[in-house]
């Protein structure tokens, strides 16, 4: 069984702080990490491999430094890793990213299952997984919280809905996006770390995956950012004054219209 895990390197959200004076992101000391949801996708892939035999390939589109994340993926159980990297991919929106990953997958060869995190924490769109499955013409499930049964040919999974969950069965090839409830990712073993250090990461360029230059990066993106601005300052930002009882009285006055 061949499982591909699509992942993204993102800024570590817990390091990201707002500079209270300039209202911009304070970036000093912000580390790049594997998107947290993708860690769960990787863990689930490794568990499936352990249950049914096969291999796990970690795949990312990103800058050269994303190689670090792929080594981490190998230390956590991936057998090999592919970095799709090219300046021409810069500015890709979710459509162009799905296009690029599709071409990378076709270059890599056959697969049974693709696992992705439900979304990346920097963009929060949750669009690439469904987009990729659609491009590949395979069925998909989003926000999977549990794989109840699995075999070498298909699986039964719980996919989260707003009002509960649906229990769904499908056959491979298929794509799933997963939420963090699905598992508890393992920490890398010493052996895994050794393997990661020595592993050779496959590098693929836009030409290697036979991508049409008009379909990748910014030129291939139907959406275009035309303006970026700080969020509007909100509210009166007032800390109430007076004794505690007076403050509570003032607050209740303000809240009356909501009662």
């Amino acid at each position: 069984m061949k499982i591909i895990v699509c992942m993204k390197q993102v800024p570590d959200a817990k390091d990201v702080r707002l500079d209270p004076v300039t209202n911009t992101l304070a970036r000093e000391g912000v580390q790049s990490i594997m998107n947290p949801y993708d860690q769960h996708a990787l863990e689930e892939a490794v568990r499936l491999k352990e249950a049914h035999a096969g291999e796990v390939v970690a795949l990312t589109m990103g800058p050269p430094q994303a190689e670090e994340m792929l080594r981490q993926a190998i230390s956590c159980g991936a057998d090999s890793a592919v970095l799709v990297s090219d300046r021409a991919f810069a500015g890709a929106d979710t459509w162009a990213t799905a296009y690029t990953l599709e071409h990378a997958l076709k270059t890599i060869g056959d697969f049974d299952l693709i696992l992705c995190g439900k979304q990346a924490i920097d963009g929060d769109t949750a669009q690439v997984g469904p987009g990729l499955a659609t491009r590949l013409g395979i069925p998909y499930l989003t926000c999977v919280q549990k794989i109840r049964e699995s075999s070498a040919s298909g699986l039964v999974a719980e996919r989260m809905m707003d009002d509960g969950y649906d229990l769904v069965a499908l056959e491979y090839p298929a794509l799933l996006t997963v939420v963090k409830d699905i598992n508890e990712p393992r920490v890398p073993s010493i052996k895994g770390k050794m393997k990661a250090k020595k592993a050779e990461i496959v590098r693929l360029s836009a030409a290697d995956i036979k991508a049409d230059p008009a379909c990748i990066g910014l030129p291939g993106s139907p959406t275009k950012v035309v303006n970026v601005f700080p969020p509007p300052a909100r509210g009166e930002r007032s800390v109430l004054q007076g004794t505690l009882d007076e403050q509570i009285d003032q607050l209740v006055e303000k809240l009356v219209r909501y009662m």
Partner: protein
């Protein structure tokens, strides 16, 4: 590609600060662009000496842009109920359609839809495309996507809006991919651009630290998802007239490769913090899981629901469906009362669209006070019981 004009650049470093992605660094008095550049253009505007330019290859413009007309709203129906966000989308959809001078269409998929189509007309739709079929009773991405895509190809609306619900966020990206259409997730503002009638889609990015306005200039349709409670529904008007177009899709579109074995209504249905008008939210400052008993009392007094920060969900004090923030739910209630929540940026990203934010926290320096409209610094175990008593007096 982002180009730096070496003659013009004075190495002032303003662009370094303006870049939301940390992709620019001043080295030897010159701005140097790194690999993490996403070509967002924030730096270009920040540069006082116009040393930065974005060079973008010409985009292929779809040749039939003008033949796409009308605004559509995907209306979600499940377990005999219309998702409230559908009516909210008809509200903004009406505004956009009027601005463009086009019709507002509603797409309604499901089984045993009853009088729902007339309801959609009363809430603003001119035309309802109704697909009432047993195969659409369960939500399956491939069927929903195939039926919706075929309708879009046939009727060619220029704009399509959908709720950023579990269903919308799952199948709409598939539809957009099939149509080679641009899709913007979780928009908080939608407007029509004066010069060319394009849809301006504004959404928070980078955990709510920056707002980005996005446009699809050279392709149609333009697609966007919007979260619950962001837009306003129109009052139902029984006098409104509209057309109902009954669609009988070909059988092959209703073939699915997945089987829904069971559909389970969980605790999440009762909780649904995204639909609440008032939220009383607890964080680590509660100090113990028992703190939620107090918050429940405050919530009861206000007719509110209880939500929480990630820290206390991770600690197991309250289940995940209550979690507000980047990795939880995004909420936009009329009133949000943050109790013992420090205001980490990931939390703020999930609640900053609330109409009024109240913060109660012992730490006067907590960043939650930066987004609060009213703040009280003090011990929440002293403040909240008094607050409950005062609220009950006023009732």
């Amino acid at each position: 590609m982002l180009k730096v004009d070496k003659e013009l650049c004075i190495g002032c470093g303003i662009c370094e600060d303006a870049c939301p992605f940390g992709a620019i660094q001043v080295e030897n008095g010159l701005a140097v662009v790194g690999e993490t550049c996403t070509l967002c253009g924030a730096c270009v505007e920040s540069c006082d000496v116009q040393a930065l330019t974005l060079e973008i290859a010409e985009k292929h413009v779809q040749d039939d842009l003008q033949s796409w007309s009308g605004v559509w709203v995907f209306c979600e129906y499940r377990r005999g109920e219309l998702a409230p966000v559908s009516l909210e989308l008809l509200g903004i959809g009406r505004t956009l359609a009027d601005r463009r001078g086009v019709k507002l269409g509603a797409v309604l998929l499901g089984y045993r839809l009853g009088e729902t189509a007339s309801r959609l007309i009363g809430h603003g739709a001119d035309t309802v495309y109704l697909v009432d079929n047993e195969s659409l009773n369960d939500f399956r991405d491939d069927c929903y996507s195939a039926v919706t895509t075929s309708l879009i190809r046939k009727y060619k609306p220029e704009i399509i809006l959908a709720g950023a619900t579990a269903i919308g966020r799952s199948f709409i990206p598939g539809v957009a991919t099939d149509l080679n259409a641009g899709l913007t997730a979780d928009c908080t503002r939608l407007e029509i651009r004066e010069e060319d009638g394009a849809l301006l889609q504004t959404r928070p990015a980078f955990g709510g630290n920056i707002m980005a306005t996005i446009v699809c200039e050279s392709s149609r349709p333009q697609m966007a998802t919007v979260r619950s409670k962001v837009m306003k529904a129109l009052e139902f008007d029984a006098a409104r007239r509209g057309e109902i177009v009954v669609i009988d899709p070909p059988a092959d579109l209703l073939q699915s490769r997945v089987r829904v074995l069971e559909s389970v209504v969980g605790e999440a249905a009762k909780i649904n913090i995204q639909e609440a008008d008032i939220l009383v939210s607890g964080g680590r400052g509660l100090e113990t899981a028992k703190g939620f008993e107090l918050l429940n009392k405050l919530a009861d007094a206000l007719g509110a629901k209880v939500s929480a920060s990630r820290a206390v969900v991770d600690a197991g004090w309250i289940p995940y469906p209550h979690q507000v923030g980047q990795t939880g739910k995004t909420v936009a209630p009329k009133l949000y009362i943050a109790c013992g929540i420090s205001g980490a940026i990931q939390h703020v990203a999930g609640m900053q669209s609330a109409e009024t934010i109240v913060a109660i926290n012992r730490d006067a320096n907590a960043s939650i006070f930066n987004v609060a409209d009213y703040g009280i610094v003090g011990d929440l175990y002293e403040i909240i019981p008094k607050l409950i008593a005062k609220i009950e007096e006023r009732r």
